[in-house]
């Protein structure tokens, strides 16, 4: 099978067979992660949120592609009811038996940001949520729109998220496969050095995301090939 891409608008390059670690552009990371999330069964709208979240994390020095892959490997193919939260003021629990999908949780927190159910004024308990670092980009979105940084407290640390920065125990959060957390508006945020973007991805991660992405594609037919222009002579 040949996999040269030719969509100058959306399809990214074939990311298999690259060196062990490869620097992608943010665009490529967003595209690869959006397609992988769709391939794993998320709606188109949530797949876009996955692309946003992974790209944002890389722009802030965190391997978002790896975090997304770790989540998709657990969540692929599960129905919505198994992944979404039960929304209630002050407490968002899983609607199903397993952990909440961080992309659904994050984007829903963003949706409810100015509504009572999403209010952080009296604190909001969430979880358990899978790969919780993927929630951070959505907290940044909320922090930007409200103008207040947000504290995310979990059993082994606290992360502070502003519109465009992260501080606190982010390295601890990155390694958590699942956690409960309390969200609240942060009064003070520890001073930290600005995050450096890191767009390097592990080849194995990209290959595995590519496997999910290929689930969105359709095998060719002769007619589709000729529709796309094959069969004409270009030596004219």
């Amino acid at each position: 099978m040949m996999t040269e891409p030719n969509d100058p608008t959306q399809s990214g390059p074939d990311l298999s067979g690259l060196a062990t670690r490869t620097r992608l552009s943010r665009n490529e990371i967003e595209g690869a992660c959006t397609k992988a999330a769709r391939g794993a069964g998320l709606s188109w709208g949530h797949a876009e949120e996955a692309g946003f979240a992974a790209g944002w994390l890389h722009a802030h020095g965190i391997d978002g592609a790896a975090a997304l892959l770790a989540h998709l490997e657990k969540a692929a193919g599960k129905p919505w009811d198994e992944l979404c939260p039960k929304v209630a003021a002050g407490l968002w629990l899983p609607a199903g038996k397993g952990a909440i999908c961080p992309l659904i949780l994050g984007s829903s927190l963003s949706d409810y940001g100015s509504l009572p159910e999403g209010s952080l004024d009296a604190g909001l308990a969430i979880g358990p949520v899978s790969q919780p670092v993927l929630v951070v980009p959505f907290l940044a979105r909320l922090a930007r729109s409200s103008g207040h940084p947000i504290a995310m407290r979990f059993a082994t640390g606290t992360v502070y998220v502003g519109g465009d920065h992260i501080s606190g125990d982010i390295k601890v959060l990155v390694d958590l496969a699942e956690t409960r957390a309390d969200l609240s508006a942060a009064d003070t945020v520890p001073e930290t050095a600005p995050c450096q973007a890191d767009y390097e991805c592990d080849a194995a991660t990209l290959a595995a995301l590519g496997v999910f992405a290929m689930r969105t594609t359709v095998p060719p037919s002769e007619r589709s090939r000729s529709d796309a222009g094959a069969g004409t002579d270009d030596n004219d």
Partner: protein, 558 residues
């Protein structure tokens, strides 16, 4: 330049055309380039800012193989097109993505490349998609020769003769690009990292610069090969002959979804063009210089139409419409400006009442052309800050969302998606090439993997579910119950404040023509000679008639 900027203040004040008129596929598929097209924006800026151009590297051998560098130096930064020329056997020449080799490959480098940069690029650029470039590169592209015209031009020049203008008109270019990859593709710099540079702020400026420098490369290398072949007998291209060459572009379905996937850009491009027309219609009187410019532009449009070749039945009919309309416009211009207080508006109203859609869009381009002082600033409104997932307004009510649907998507809600002809096709990405294709829902496999380009159907389905929901429910709660609508809800919220964001036609209808989407986008680029090779595959020409960077009078780009 124009008589005045006074807007008409009587009851007939011109208003921008409505999206219901402008965003129909038939009209988008009749779009003509204007002075707001992106290649015109590039050439204007370079002329105004006194950019300088040179060719610091020319290492091309007698077989036409090697590398060259073309540099464009602006007030603050310079950019270099790095070109690799190859010796391609005819059996490998394909414009399609299945190609793995090309006559020439290119990258646009940020600055002036060192020898080490050139070596790095030489190891990757000729491979195109199979190689990697870096954030020092702004675009990656390749081109194939027009075999017939190439041989003709080399032979004639080698024999001391100029090429036959008829042969040039029949093709229009020496090489055609088969892909120009920009923002962030294959490791190249992301647009968001360079968008704050004034010279790259408008859309597709690196890509346009790359193609313009490529045009210089195409004439340089035919002259080089003619010199190799003809020795002392060989001559160079005469300027008038040289001006007739554009750069071709061959493009397929891959381009068609772009305008659908970028609603903010589609809105901003269309809104800028409509605002330009509105401003011109509001001009009182007609200064002699503006009238002269209009007549000259009209003559150029006539020449362009006369040289515009296509064998595709749809395009043949459109060209016939265009030529007939140009006759009508010519006759009408004999009386222009006449005695009307707002002659440009009067001319436009006449056109709307008299001309085909093709002729109307040509007239729009003609009307805008003499009014650079009035409209050129609009190019600054044509980019967009696009993020992959704009936040939803979750506190909006279901009732308000339904109002937006009725206001912006009435064209979609009027379609009955229980009828097979209204959902006859589906867009998908091919496993084989990872490129967009169109399938037939009744007969082809894979409809369950449909790409989200069926906006009309999404809006129609959303409306049906909204109708079952309390009007006071929040969008946040609604999308929690109906997660599949998240995508179209986001678009509808964009469309609320961006009236030109959507194509007002059903993109999965049996009779939908993808080439209409392509022509619209290509006209915004500045493409001419739109020539469909099928209803999904086209060739066009860029920069025909434009100056060359290395012309002796290179400073006078305008």
């Amino acid at each position: 330049m124009q008589a005045g900027n006074t807007l008409a203040t009587d009851g007939g004040t011109p208003q921008p055309r409505s999206p219901q008129v402008v965003m129909r596929l038939e009209r988008m598929g009749s779009a003509h380039p204007t002075r707001l097209s992106f290649l015109r924006v590039l050439l204007r800026r370079m002329a105004n800012e006194g950019w300088r151009f040179d060719r610091p590297v020319w290492e091309i051998d007698d077989h036409g193989v090697g590398r060259a560098v073309y540099r464009a130096a602006g007030p603050k930064r310079s950019y270099s097109l790095v070109a690799f020329a190859h010796d391609l056997p005819a059996e490998m020449r394909s414009d399609r993505v299945i190609a793995t080799a090309w006559d020439a490959t290119f990258a646009l480098f940020d600055g002036t490349p060192s020898a080490a940069d050139l070596d790095r690029l030489q190891a990757n650029v000729p491979l195109q998609e199979a190689g990697r470039v870096s954030s020092q590169e702004l675009s990656l592209s390749r081109a194939n020769r027009s075999v017939r015209l190439w041989a003709h031009v080399v032979d004639r020049l080698a024999a001391g003769q100029q090429p036959d203008p008829e042969e040039i008109a029949a093709v229009g270019y020496l090489m055609r690009t088969t892909a120009v990859y920009g923002s962030g593709k294959f490791g190249a710099a992301d647009r968001r990292d360079i968008a704050d540079r004034p010279e790259l702020a408008e859309p597709f400026q690196p890509e346009m610069l790359s193609v313009w420098l490529t045009r210089q490369f195409t004439v340089d290398i035919v002259e080089h090969l003619a010199m190799v072949k003809g020795g002392a007998n060989a001559v160079r291209l005469e300027p008038a002959i040289k001006a007739a060459f554009g750069v071709g572009n061959s493009t397929g379905l891959g381009m068609a979804p772009y305008l659908v996937r970028h609603p903010l850009l589609l809105n901003n491009w269309s809104a800028a063009r409509e605002e330009a027309l509105t401003r011109v219609r509001g001009v009182a009187g007609a200064a002699p210089e503006a009238v002269r410019c209009l007549r000259q532009t009209y003559q150029e449009a006539r020449r362009n139409a006369a040289d515009w070749r296509s064998e595709h039945p749809i395009q043949v009919a459109k060209l016939a419409d265009l030529c007939a309309d140009l006759d009508r416009i010519g006759a009408r211009l004999d009386q222009f400006p006449g005695t009307a207080a707002f002659p440009w508006d009067e001319l436009w109203r006449w056109g709307e009442a008299t001309l085909s859609v093709e002729g109307q869009e040509q007239l729009l381009a003609l009307l805008i052309e003499p009014h650079g002082d009035l409209v050129d600033d609009l190019s600054a409104c044509m980019s967009a800050d696009e993020t992959v997932a704009a936040p939803l307004n979750g506190s909006m009510t279901v009732g308000r969302l339904r109002e937006i649907l009725r206001q912006r998507y009435s064209w979609a809600l009027a379609t009955d998606f229980t009828q097979p002809e209204n959902m006859a096709r589906f867009w998908y990405v091919s496993e084989e090439k990872l490129e967009p294709r169109l399938g037939e829902r009744a007969s082809d496999e894979g409809a369950e993997l449909e790409q989200p380009l069926c906006i009309a159907r999404f809006a129609w389905e959303l409306d049906a579910d909204l109708a079952q929901s309390p009007a006071t429910e929040t969008v946040a709660a609604f999308v929690m119950r109906h997660p599949r609508h998240r995508y179209i809800v986001r678009r509808a919220q964009i469309a609320e404040t961006h009236p030109y964001a959507e194509v007002h036609d059903n993109l999965i209808a049996a009779d939908m023509l993808p080439i209409d989407l392509m022509r619209c986008k290509l006209a915004f680029f500045g493409a001419t000679h739109f020539d469909p090779r099928s209803d999904k595959w086209v060739r066009i020409s860029l920069f025909q008639g434009a100056p060359y960077p290395l012309d002796p009078e290179g400073g006078s780009l305008s």
